[in-house]
């Protein structure tokens, strides 16, 4: 049967007719097509894996950080202790910091979701791991002084030492000006030793338990310093380097996240304090739009207006008009 077409006809409804196809058919072996495709893709995958392998840049450890950048490590620990670090002031879901949560207009979804992973950086990142340390008389004395002091005194020591570290040349603990820091220098020096010995990861992860698979605390502590970011930027993973969609080395990574990453590169998102929630809102709307394309007037008509289908079905149209 030869089909006939009316060139340029635009009178059909936008939805294709559901009436059965009455034109010609061609033999089409779906099973054979699938088997050939499966074998082909498997071989192509095997070849790509063999030729290009896959990246595996080793993880950053607290031992590496504390050895390579001890000043940054101690400065970060001081900020955790006096409650001024990124994690300490983050807000939900880690703690209740007023006005820290991002807002979408007047609504803060972050705040509404609540604190589900409560974290006290001073206790969880510094004092807790030190409390579990044995065999260090100086540390034992320092911790005794710390625990015996009123909260206001502890805060005053921690804040004073944090500010002194920031003012010291290269933030080096050895060059901190003299002051009333109480037991804080001893405590943070012991934490540095704990990290260098490789014991801090376990203390942060396990928090007194045997089994745990939640790395929230060690990762937050690591991310509060600059070591992880410096290593990530060296692998072109920074936020302003389209980092979320990149992979270490020269691998393609998550290229499909290009649109999500794109918004972070342009204003107003790139300069907004609420960038994350704004980008998520935009992506939620766009994702919903993708799902609802068949129901969106205008968008659903684009394929008719821009005749790429003439290329896809060129054989059919050629036969029909021939």
């Amino acid at each position: 049967m030869t089909a006939t077409l009316v060139p340029g006809r635009r009178t059909h409804p936008p939805v294709a007719p559901t009436v059965p196809w009455a034109g010609r058919y061609r033999e089409y072996d779906l099973v054979k097509e699938f088997v050939v495709a499966l074998v082909g893709v498997a071989l192509l995958t095997a070849a790509l894996a063999g030729i290009f392998s896959s990246p595996d840049v080793p993880q950053a450890t607290l031992a590496q950080w504390s050895t390579a950048a001890p000043a940054d490590f101690v400065l970060t620990a001081a900020a955790e202790l006096d409650g001024t670090s990124g994690s300490a002031t983050y807000g939900a879901p880690y703690n209740r910091t007023p006005d820290a949560a991002q807002k979408l207009g007047p609504v803060s979804l972050q705040h509404l979701a609540g604190v589900t992973t409560p974290i006290s950086t001073a206790t969880d990142f510094v004092v807790g791991p030190l409390d579990g340390t044995v065999g260090d008389p100086a540390l034992k004395t320092a911790l005794g002084q710390w625990h015996a002091a009123p909260a206001a005194q502890r805060q005053a020591w921690a804040t004073a030492y944090d500010e002194a570290l920031q003012a010291a040349p290269d933030n080096a603990a050895a060059q901190v000006a003299a002051g009333d820091y109480g037991p804080v220098p001893v405590m943070l020096n012991s934490l540095l030793g704990l990290a260098r010995g490789g014991a801090l990861e376990g203390a942060l992860l396990l928090q007194g338990r045997f089994y745990r698979s939640d790395y929230t605390k060690p990762l937050l502590f690591l991310a509060d310093g600059t070591y992880l970011e410096e290593r990530a930027r060296a692998e072109h993973l920074g936020g302003d380097q389209w980092g979320m969609m990149n992979e270490t080395g020269s691998y393609p990574g998550q290229a499909w996240l290009w649109l999500y990453t794109f918004w972070y590169q342009v204003k107003p998102f790139s300069t907004s304090d609420n960038a994350d929630v704004l980008v998520w809102a935009v992506m939620a709307v766009l994702s919903l739009g993708l799902i609802c394309v068949p129901f969106l007037p205008g968008v659903r008509s684009l394929p008719r207006w821009i005749p790429v289908h003439r290329l896809i079905w060129r054989d059919y149209y050629r036969r029909s008009t021939g």
Binding site: M1, A3, T4, P14, V15, A16, P17, T18, V19, W21, A22, G23, R24, R26, Y28, D29, L30, V31, E33, A37, L38, V41, T45, G50, S53, D56, V57, P58, A60, P93, Q110, A113, D214, Y215, T216, L219, L220, L222, A223, R231, A232, L237, G243, E247, Y251, Q254, W256, D276, V277, I291, V293, P294, P303, R304, V308, H309, I312, W313, D315, Y316
Partner: protein
Amino acid sequence: MTVTAAPHTWTGRLRGRVQQEFPGDTLLPDRQPIYVASWIYVFGVLTLAALLVVLASGAVLAVAGPQWWHGSGLGHYVNSLHLWSVELFMAFMVIHLWGKFWMAAWRGKRAMTWVTGALCFLGSIGTAFTGYLVQSNLDAQWISTQAKDGLNSAGIGAYFNVMDFGQMLMWHIVLLPSVIGALVVVHVLQVRRRGVVPPFDVGAADRGQAGARP
């Protein structure tokens, strides 16, 4: 003795519904309308094939555990298979999606075919993302500490913690693949049920009232 379920039973009703929705050779036809003749049609089946390779390579990684590939040459190769099959899967799926967009493949009561396909695409992005989170290397550390901000800002991070390795591993190897698998099955069944969307401006002679579904 063959016992046929009565139509009023749940089994009978289900059988009747299946036979109604997928009559004759609808599920596995050996012919297609003449317009099904373009390279763009290959990308649907290529996507399915790549998905199987993704699942197979992921299953091998699961057998030996999430740390195996860091210290084993064979494990690293299987991880490479997993990575590249995912890259191919996503590439094929994007081309398939664009092809179906330009065909306006939702026409003719095929809207749910598009909807399930779009959900597969979005779900696959989420599944791949969780895969990157459980690599347990520098990339995973950085991606998780960066991605938390977006998820937390939307209130999702309170329940979907990208820094919880155990939670992300379960999502990556159990929950999300199950959802994607179910969606893919529904998507393919809908393709078979409604058939391949016909071209725009089909001539009158091809728009018959009888015969198999297009």
